[in-house]
Symmetry: C5
């Protein structure tokens, strides 16, 4: 679906243009074309390929979606795949944004991701000076917008871990904790796979030989890279703590077993000792003086209660009950 | 076994040629020879060595099979070993494809792998323009074909993990889960050993100084590399989750022990307390008024039932039963 | 909040200057301006941006705070983010110091960190020779001051680990130990995230091409880097030992379970055997000679005590009691 | 002990020569000297040092043995240390081969390793063309021979792991399994320490600037490196699976505890319930109608058997027995 | 404390010289000054700084001690920090040796380490040829001497691990084993922190651009580096096995619990079954023929003994007792 197809000159909007005239506008000097597609049909992408003269392999990748995050140069054109994480319920779904960036054009293709880049376009249009510098700044602004969407998600995962931590140390719902730690670990992995590959390739846009389209905005891409490094550090830290939390949980489960064993043993003793006493007075010896005494029965019961009270206090003190 | 031995000129098929004339066709300008062998006899390979003037060490490797995935240059010729994973029952078997690629020839040698490269040949023959560019494109197409066979297998492993996960959290068949996680880990290792070494060496074909035969198709090899990186990321993620699933399983086993201990203790209490009461009324004291009362027996039985009902409700509430 | 705004000439203090005249002083040769802000308002930073002609992205970072530690060059200016760890109760809070360093100025911006850099300024002012060499030395002195604040904190964590270790091996308060090890691990992570990124980037200031402002003081920055490496080694070692301590704790918990099981079993035996004997003499056979004998009852009791004494000594020896 | 001391000219054997004439033969053009020592006395090595003009440090290393695998250049001479693993009983013993390689000589020194290099010498002598190319090929052939001795050992370790795996999943001899996994881990470490350092240094002989003695045979050394990489991959895989097998073993031990707890509890119930019934009919109430009935005793026994049968079937179904 | 202060000319000892004349001797051509300090006062170091013209930062480091192992160039001078491990009781204490090396001087500063470098000085004085080559060789000899002191310590740790291993597999003193494994892990960490940083920096002295003072003795420093790599490999291996031993210990502890549970259950059965029989014959039914029979009592006792004997044999066979 075509979302936008706009031409700019000297940083000012010329207006929407028909798709078939894209190549004409690209030919004009000082002209800049910015097209946005959403979940496009193959035919739409093929038309774009023709208008922008995109490389076959890049277009193939953009058709299917489900690529790894990457930044690839095809001649003068840069093809970029970004992952856009979105919370759907408690699951993280990864949408995708493919960017084709040339000297004087930007084509963005969104897959399965809802918020568009209206804000980016508005900001760019409000700063004609920056827009005049060409594709590099728009490229940066789009990428920055995508990367900024990661932070609230990672923060949410951090909050989630803190909630689980609290429950772990309060000895609550160990089974749920394990399940949620496992799910959290999985989400962290999904996020890492969206962030890490980008860090690896992003230095192409600010260090060493920089593609023509990105010259003059290297500092901006370094800033994006810095944001990604911050995310990566956060994710690494979370991952580390999730693993530790799992092992803490296991330790506490094992301690729980010990605690239960102790308290069971204490209760067992409280029953077993009176049973022994009852057994003794149930013996059939003819000569058992207590049996005949009027105080025999209360004495026996008293002994049971007394010993149990004594044991109960001892267990109490030892923290077994 | 010789599968195919075809010469092409200007991208068009000249026809099958006898093996012994290969070297003649290689001498003609604009001529391209594409030979496919399957589980060859040593003699066949030695004949090929003579016709294509292949390097002794490469031919030795191709004879034995069981090599690591690798890409090696011997002068102008490139020798490539690819692993082809195939599901046999629930086991992953690694077949092997060895490719010898020169300026104007491609020799493929399949070991223990069934689907051949008919599709690749047909596609190449239908695009004479690409075929005209020579060995590089055919080399790419074969490699791409092999790498594409990895994806369904990795996806299958992903499905398998999800099945095990479900069983783990449903507390089912812990023993089977361990066994299958172990087997899964092993399969992941097999796949990694097929994928990782290739990633390491593949950049030779698109980055820096590229062998003559691969010039002009670097972007295509970069695309193959990208697919391999995607596989590698998937495999890493799976491996990470398998390890976590194992530790989750262990935690749940330990929790299971705790649960069983609890419920056993509860049942033990339900038996032990009445046994104590019975013991008390089995004592032989002469002066035990209850023993003579008509309501003695029903009272004792009632007390037993009553206490057990009370305990049962308590254990129920505490989740021990 | 503006803390200081001082101009120096030839290493000697000229005096406090109004903010609006900063750019004038920067224009004078041999003049050096050193400004310190604390938790500044955006407006203050924007004013500084104008006076010092700072890069937009660096100022944005300094406004928000919460950056990763980093050293970035924007043209002739170096932007540095340092984390300042502070103990608040038992938690480590990370404040931040942002430094803008140019040929003849240093601007420091403190966020959420209390001790300022008065000592650094005094030391610098007392050594006019060094101050004359310009921004590089002040930059080093500030950084050195920040890095020196890490050592007592890391030492405190080391002491904390030693306390936990002692408790672990004394079998005390396993639950608390786990909790504190977990918290300790978290603190170590916080410290690592403050130290590691700085090590990665610091070599920019002493190895290879060094920014103009830092030339002549490379050896000093190498010394800072060496301090950071020492911290990093200490943190790595602590982290390793914390993980090991956790697993030791788990092992000891499991051993504790075994010990308790043993001692419970011993006590159970001490009750069960007399119960059996009592049961035997509670049988109603008519022909049980002991029942009629005068020594029957004491004999039975004696047997109970005797066997229990024997068992008790055996259990004692075996270390079960 | 001197094993061989032979001079070759133009690839053909001139015959055994006395040690003291080595330096003379080395001086002749087209002459190649190949000496083999076994567990030499210091004096022998010092003589060799004089004849071949070897570097003091290399000779010192060769005297002691027990070096790490390494390849070092001393001027024109290459000093190589290889480890030769040998199975002694179930232990892996590492012998050592030290090679001194110059433009026109090879000196091999074996320490504590039995099979010599007769096969290598015979093969080399049968191919005068290769021998004519000089020391490089002999160097390769010796190294290849040593590396080939690793494969059967690694395969044996693989078989050993498979045997342990089978026993683990058959729940057999957990204690032995742990011990053997531990021993296996140790052997893998020994093998890794023999293989890994060699991989690191071997590229000196085929990539970049290659020592004079090895020029022209780079492809052969690359092949050796490839074999070592294969070994390393195999060892890594084994190591990974050993660790996993250990954790599987632990899980199964814990599950075993659960299983035993369950079956014990079942048996305990089968005894405790009849004991309760017996206890009830052992009470001394005067009014217990069953006690007087002729069917009382068989009824009680019947009830015991009946309940036990019912419980036994339930436990059976639940898999506790 | 000044230990030695000697000047050499042409490799021959000129004699002890007063500290204050060091700078004079340094000025003479062909003269070499070798000074050794032990736990020096700050004043002594400051005097040395003046005489040798050492860099302020290096002298500061040498004053405090407690540096990381490192090799730093300050102009023509090399500053080296080496750790010297010493066994004090069962603890490893790290002393420190700081070396200042220039074109024609070596200054060694020992901190908290007892054996000095007399042997090195004697060896050097006995080989005037080597001493003539200047500071590089003395530098190497000192470093080699320090590194050689590591080997017996690492070997001792290896022996210690073997002792613990034996006890683990003999199921002895699990608690002590854990404690000692933990302590061993700590010692390994201390040793690693002494060895690893040195490996990282040592290649400065033999690879690439080598400091003037070390030229001509690169091969010797490579040899030191090789020794360090050997130590590092040994330490890595030990660390790996310690971790494995810990997990083996945990597995065996858990198995021990299972074993104890089994044997307890067996003993419980041996008591519970006779108790049930006694309970049955303790029932008060009027019609229990056995009760009246003369063989009743012996029959009951016989049944108890018989069943227990049968059970005992079964448990024995199953390995529970």
């Amino acid at each position: 679906m075509l979302v936008n197809c706009v031409a700019y000159q000297d940083g000012r909007k010329l207006g929407d243009i028909p798709r078939s005239e894209i190549s004409d506008y690209l030919g004009r000097p000082e002209c800049f074309v910015w097209v946005a597609l959403k979940d496009p049909e193959p035919a739409e992408l093929l038309e774009m390929q023709a208008e922008f003269q995109l490389h076959e392999l890049a277009v193939e990748d953009a058709m299917g979606g489900h690529q790894r995050p990457k930044i690839e140069e095809y001649g003068d054109s840069i093809f970029t795949v970004l992952k856009v994480p979105q919370l759907e319920g408690t699951e993280i779904e990864l949408g995708e944004v493919d960017l084709f960036v040339g000297r004087n054009y930007v084509l963005s293709v969104r897959h399965r991701t809802n918020p568009g880049f209206k804000a980016v376009r508005e900001r760019a249009e409000s700063e004609p000076d920056l827009l005049k510098t060409g594709a590099g700044f728009v490229f940066y602004a789009l990428m920055d917008n995508v990367v900024d969407r990661y932070f609230p998600l990672v923060d949410a995962l951090e909050v989630q871990l803190e909630e689980i931590e609290e429950r772990i140390f309060a000895d609550e719902s160990a089974r749920t904790n394990i399940r949620e730690l496992y799910a959290l670990k999985h989400k962290l992995m999904v996020m890492r796979h969206a962030v890490e590959p980008l860090i690896e390739v992003l230095h192409k846009l600010y260090g060493g030989r920089v593609p023509a389209a990105c010259q003059g905005v290297q500092d901006y891409f370094r800033d994006v890279s810095d944001h990604l490094l911050r995310l990566s550090t956060q994710l690494d830290g979370l991952r580390d703590m999730v693993i530790t939390a799992m092992s803490v949980n296991l330790s506490l489960i094992n301690m729980g077993t010990t605690d239960i064993t102790k308290s069971l043993a204490a209760y067992a003793a409280l029953v077993a000792v009176p049973t022994l006493i009852a057994g003794i007075y149930g013996m059939n010896f003819e000569l058992m003086p207590e049996l005949k005494a009027w105080w025999g029965y209360p004495f026996a019961i008293g002994m049971m209660v007394g010993i149990d009270f004594f044991l109960w206090r001892k267990f109490r003190k030892a923290g077994w009950l």
